[in-house]
Amino acid sequence: MSEEVQHLQSRIWQEEPEADNPFACRAAYCHGYDVYGEMLGRAGWAEMVYLLFRGEAPTRTQAAVLELLAVALASAGPRDAAVHAAMCGGVGGSPAAAALIAALAVGAGSLGGAREVRLAMEGWQACGRDLAAWRRRWTEPSAEPIGIFPPAEHPAGFDPHGVSTATPVRQVLAHLAALTPDSRGAWLELHRAELEGAAGHPLSLVGVAAAALTDLGFSPVQGEMLFLLLRLPGAAAHALEQAEYGHKKFPFYRLELEDGPTEKVR
């Protein structure tokens, strides 16, 4: 009796083996394109990423939008919680992967993280360019599915601690609007003030990214994954930088106990 052969299945990737070794790849095809035979030297990183996720080569404009977004998201700077997490890995000499895992874990949530991108993209799917629908979404929120993430505490894509729209947010939005005048990004720029008024907070970079990723045709789960990915370069660089500085130059903040243990025992 022959044992049933089990295969992984993929719409994305196909490999042909070398004649002398079935485990060695002779040619690899991504959605039908010869990666090493044709794309190498002709395709950019943003084009490759777009192809991997969407299954089709991007247009010039789509590649330019993704490229712009990749630059805008590459580094959140050392004050960012996810970057801070990566730096904790770097400064203590943790493995490189641990620093990136730390950045991914901390950058996964609904405050400035990938989950917020996903929620904001779900907002775009539900509300599109309908201001009234966005208002309803925030004034009459539907119950969030129960899951492992804590419920979101503010309208996704807006900064709950913001006072006014940060300059880089406006700059990224302006570039996106200029590149794609009919896009959600352009609509967002046009109606930013009204949306911010309804949300009660200024727009954040997450909100801009969510609009751009939706414009590029990514689904919310794809956007969540891409945001995690695009945030990693800065986390990695800052982790290595703090490893060079060493732990004596990395703040070990003073502890302020809110509720002393002896007090609680009483």
Binding site: R11, W13, P22, F23, G32, Y33, D34, A57, G147
Partner: protein, 228 residues
């Protein structure tokens, strides 16, 4: 103080008596199969075969365990549902209506049915232990069984699994859903280390090596890359 008591104190701020501690420790012990085919365990084995570190492998495997169709996701949904439904029933609600509403809202009921096999061999020993400790008479456990009875009348595959059982037992011990979520983090840990170790003991790359023909391509036909 045992490590279990220490961990529960950290999560809940409360101290637990020996019998609840015994049950909670058994909840960890009665699962954690060292089967490297299971997706989270497979990650620790893959880390072993690629000669990554045990900590990275096990951390990633733990991270995977917060899954939708197995592991912590269904467990969290189960305790949320049981706690919420019990409150509703105490206020005069009717269980069948609660279930109908839950499912009509597109929520997957956590803790009933199992992705790879229908029966759950962990139920009987866990319930036996809970009974022997006098901890099987709580209202959430009774509710979990009542839900099972309604579900299997409709679909026999939707029997209670370990997730609903331990959610009910934890709720009867006073754990909130958030506390239960944190309590469950090491649930599969003991099965992950052997998967890592076994793969690390074998030649590098010997765990699940896949030849090129091990992937069935289902995508676009060959085409030429050109400027858009």
């Amino acid at each position: 103080m045992s490590w279990m008591e220490r961990y529960l104190l950290a999560i809940t701020g409360r101290r637990f008596a020996p019998r609840p501690l015994r049950l909670l420790e058994a909840i960890w012990c009665y699962t954690s199969y060292p089967d490297a085919r299971i997706w989270n365990n497979r990650v620790s084995a893959l880390a072993g075969t690629t000669r990554s570190t045990g900590n990275l492998g096990l951390s990633a495997a733990l991270a995977l365990s917060e899954a939708d169709i197995y592991g912590l996701g269904p467990c969290v949904r189960a305790i949320e549902f049981l706690i919420r439904t019990r409150v509703e029933l105490a206020g005069g609600g009717e269980l069948a209506a609660c279930l109908r509403r839950e499912r009509s809202q597109g929520r997957t009921l956590g803790g009933y049915g199992r992705p790879l096999c229908a029966a759950d061999e962990r139920i009987a020993p866990t319930v036996d232990l809970a009974r022997s400790l006098g901890l099987a008479g709580g209202p959430h456990l009774a509710l979990a069984y009542a839900v099972e009875a309604l579900l299997i009348a409709e679909r026999p595959a939707l029997r209670m699994n370990y997730g609903a059982l331990i959610a009910a037992l934890a709720a009867d011990l006073g754990l909130t859903s958030h506390e239960h979520h944190l309590f469950l983090i090491p649930l599969f840990l003991a099965g992950m280390a052997p998967c890592y170790l076994e793969a690390a003991a074998h030649p590098a790359g010997a765990f699940l090596p896949l030849p090129c023909h091990g992937v069935a391509y289902r995508g676009a036909p060959r085409r030429t890359w050109g400027p858009a």
